[in-house]
């Protein structure tokens, strides 16, 4: 599976400058990508565009050669690309397990949703007791893990993680990175991680840099 961006342009309003100014790049399954860049350079915007939360003004995004415009928006969001947001974006009045069950139902999971949700949360280290808590009663790191579990639940081929370790200490960051690397191994997912941390970036297979609205392979590429 290959995700291709071809000369993508995007701006929030027609009177504002382009945030994505001709982004091109390729992402393949089974790889862990890091996207770095200065604050405000457009990393989150790029993730949202890949996640099809909005359409680029110019350029194409395609999966295995198929333009994502030709894929149903909802199918794309629920089965192709899963997003883990900087602010987790969980449903805050739902319990951890209900968040996952909801995702499983949206993506049309065939088995026992409740059981599968428990499994997924166990995989990211959320204990059964914590699974039944409303997510606001979980710590930031735990919420991040629930968000990861939700991304995995969709069985998407691409997972976009926007600063998943941004608000976590180094120990928790490490755990999260281990989870990602395990997911990539187990599900052969393409994972794109936005990060400011060189350490996190160093754990990825490929590091890309964003500046002036463009994406380029970093020299620090492993």
């Amino acid at each position: 599976m290959k995700l291709t961006l071809n000369d993508v342009y995007y701006r929030y309003k027609s009177n504002l400058p382009y945030v994505l100014n001709g982004v091109s790049g390729e992402f393949e399954s089974g790889n862990l990508y890091a996207v770095t860049g200065e604050s405000g350079c457009g990393k989150t915007t790029l993730m949202s565009i890949i996640g099809n939360l909005d359409r680029p003004e110019k350029g194409t995004i395609s999966i295995d050669g198929a333009d994502i415009k030709t894929i149903n928006e909802d199918t794309y969001r629920s089965k192709y690309v899963a997003m883990i947001f900087q602010s987790y974006n969980l449903l805050y009045n739902y319990t951890a397990v209900d968040n996952i069950i909801l995702m499983l139902n949206i993506s049309g999971y065939k088995g026992d949703c409740k059981e599968r949700a428990g499994e997924l949360l166990n995989e990211v280290g959320i204990t059964p007791e914590k699974q039944r808590r409303v997510v606001t009663e979980l710590s930031g790191g735990e919420q991040q893990r629930v968000a990861i579990a939700r991304a995995v639940a969709s069985e998407s081929k691409i997972i976009l993680a926007d600063e998943p370790t941004g608000s976590l200490d180094s120990k928790n960051s490490e755990i999260i990175m281990e989870i990602f690397s395990e997911i990539r191994g187990r599900y052969n997912t393409c994972i794109i991680i936005v990060t400011h941390s060189a350490e996190i970036a160093s754990k990825c297979d490929k590091v890309m840099r964003m500046s002036e609205g463009k994406l380029s392979y970093s020299e620090t590429c492993k």
Partner: protein
């Protein structure tokens, strides 16, 4: 199934948002529904009474008083007593009402025993005997307003009327009668004793000089005189009397036996409130008197009209509350939960499903509370309804009241129709509103928060 239960679970999840609204809404609906319940319940009860009695009118035919006193009665000695019988309408379930006058001649005096010592007095002028079918007595409750004692219960018991203002010699001796005394009437070979159990004082107003000696008694005790009835006297064909009154419908169930006096019931739905103790002089020498059977009908009709129009107000309020609350909840649902909608859209929840889920959640809230509050409203409404129904109860016969108290079912019909209509309208508006806001929704800006 998941989406349905999840939407309902959302009500619980967002309970903090919903509870204050629920409390306010519950009180509003409860108040409006209690109003609807009370008004319609009372309205249907009074309407039922009106229906039950509609058009029942008493037709009294009598020789004028002067005739009775001054002319020789046109009957033989054995038929000094004339008795008129008549039949009521099926609808009012009035089986029989008898009105008779006893013209007591010198030979056939009424004797009355006064006091424990059994002192006997003679009454030398006519005594009127009214025989009442027991089920009919309530119709005469105003006539039988007792000053002393109680209403007759068993045959042989009677209520008499006295008038202290009248100082004619016969009336003075009649006025000496008191509770426990006995009045004996003898006609032909028959003699009937009446024990006085109640007294009507007719001198309530100063000018009242009524000199009629009246005995009110159960029909059984009056029927004894039936054989003295002058059967062959009849009114001219009813249609020639007064065409607009004696239409075929109006005269249905009317039977008039004419002696000195007779009473019949006339049934016509439109007639009732037109007649105000009308006296028709169609037959020379006779008075024909038409009087409504129940004096409070006009008040009841007015009450019904007031209730009907007031309950409409409550129903409108009821419907408006539902509409407004549904719109408020929808508005809040959409505006306060933009974030939630954005999250759901970002993970691929289809718009249509989202619309349906929110619709379910919203309607479950509004409908659930509406139904609960409407059902609960009976609790505050009941005492009020009970009070009014008690008042109405006193105005009508027990058996008729039992029949009408079943009409409460109509309450549910009216209120459920109004609730259904309001809810349908609310649901439609909610659907449009929710759909429009969700369909036009773009999640990006909400999810990328700079915090």
């Amino acid at each position: 199934m998941y989406w349905l239960t999840n939407s309902l679970k959302n009500l619980y999840r967002s309970r903090r948002r919903y509870i204050p609204l629920a409390v306010m809404y519950f009180i509003l609906v409860c108040g409006a529904a209690a109003g609807v319940y009370t008004f319609i319940r009372m309205n249907t009860a009074t309407e039922a009474i009106l229906r039950e009695y509609a058009g029942v009118c008493e037709v009294g035919v009598s020789k004028s008083m002067a005739d009775i006193y001054e002319e020789t009665p046109p009957v033989t000695k054995d038929q000094l007593l004339s008795l008129g019988g008549s039949y009521g309408t099926d609808e009012a379930k009035i089986s029989k009402y008898t009105f008779c006058t006893a013209d007591v001649s010198a030979e056939y005096k009424a004797k009355a025993e006064i006091g424990a010592d059994g002192e006997s007095i003679d009454i030398n002028s006519p005594v009127f005997v009214f025989g009442y079918e027991p089920s009919l007595t309530y119709l005469y409750s105003s006539e039988l307003e007792l000053g002393e004692g109680e209403l007759f219960k068993a045959p042989g018991e009677c209520v008499i009327s006295k008038n202290e203002n009248n100082t004619s010699p016969d009336m003075v001796s009649w006025n000496r009668l008191s509770l426990g005394d006995t009045v004996s009437l003898a006609v032909g070979d028959d003699r009937v004793d009446y024990k006085i159990v109640g007294i009507i004082a007719e001198n309530k107003d100063e000018d009242s000089k009524t000199n009629r000696r009246m005995i009110y008694t159960p029909l059984e005790s009056a029927e004894l005189f039936d054989k003295y009835l002058t059967k062959d006297l009849s009114l001219p064909s009813s249609s020639t009397l007064e065409p607009e009154l004696f239409t075929p419908e109006a005269s249905a169930g009317t039977m008039i036996n004419l002696g000195y006096s007779a009473v019949a019931f006339l049934e016509s739905p439109d007639l009732l409130f037109d007649i105000n103790d009308r006296i028709i002089d169609s037959i020379p020498g006779f008075n024909i008197q038409l009087s409504p059977m129940h004096g409070d009908f006009a008040a009841l009709t007015k009450l019904t009209e007031t209730l009907a129009s007031s309950s409409v107000l409550f129903i409108i309020a009821f419907a408006l509350i539902i509409l407004i609350v549904t719109l408020i909840t929808t508005f809040r649902l959409i505006s306060e939960r933009k974030y939630e909608i954005a999250v759901l859209r970002s993970v691929g929840m289809p718009k249509l499903r989202l619309v349906i889920c929110y619709l379910i959640e919203n309607l479950a809230f509004v409908w659930g509370i509406t139904i609960a509050a409407a059902a609960f409203s009976i609790i505050p409404a009941r005492p009020a309804v009970g009070k009014v129904l008690d008042t109405i109860k006193q105005m009508v016969a027990p058996e008729i009241f039992t029949a009408i108290s079943g009409f409460g079912g109509k309450v549910w019909f009216y209120s459920s129709v109004s609730v259904f209509l309001a809810m349908t309208a609310a649901a439609a508006l909610t659907l449009i509103f929710t759909a429009v806001s969700i369909l036009r929704f773009r999640p990006l800006e909400i999810l990328i928060r700079r915090d």
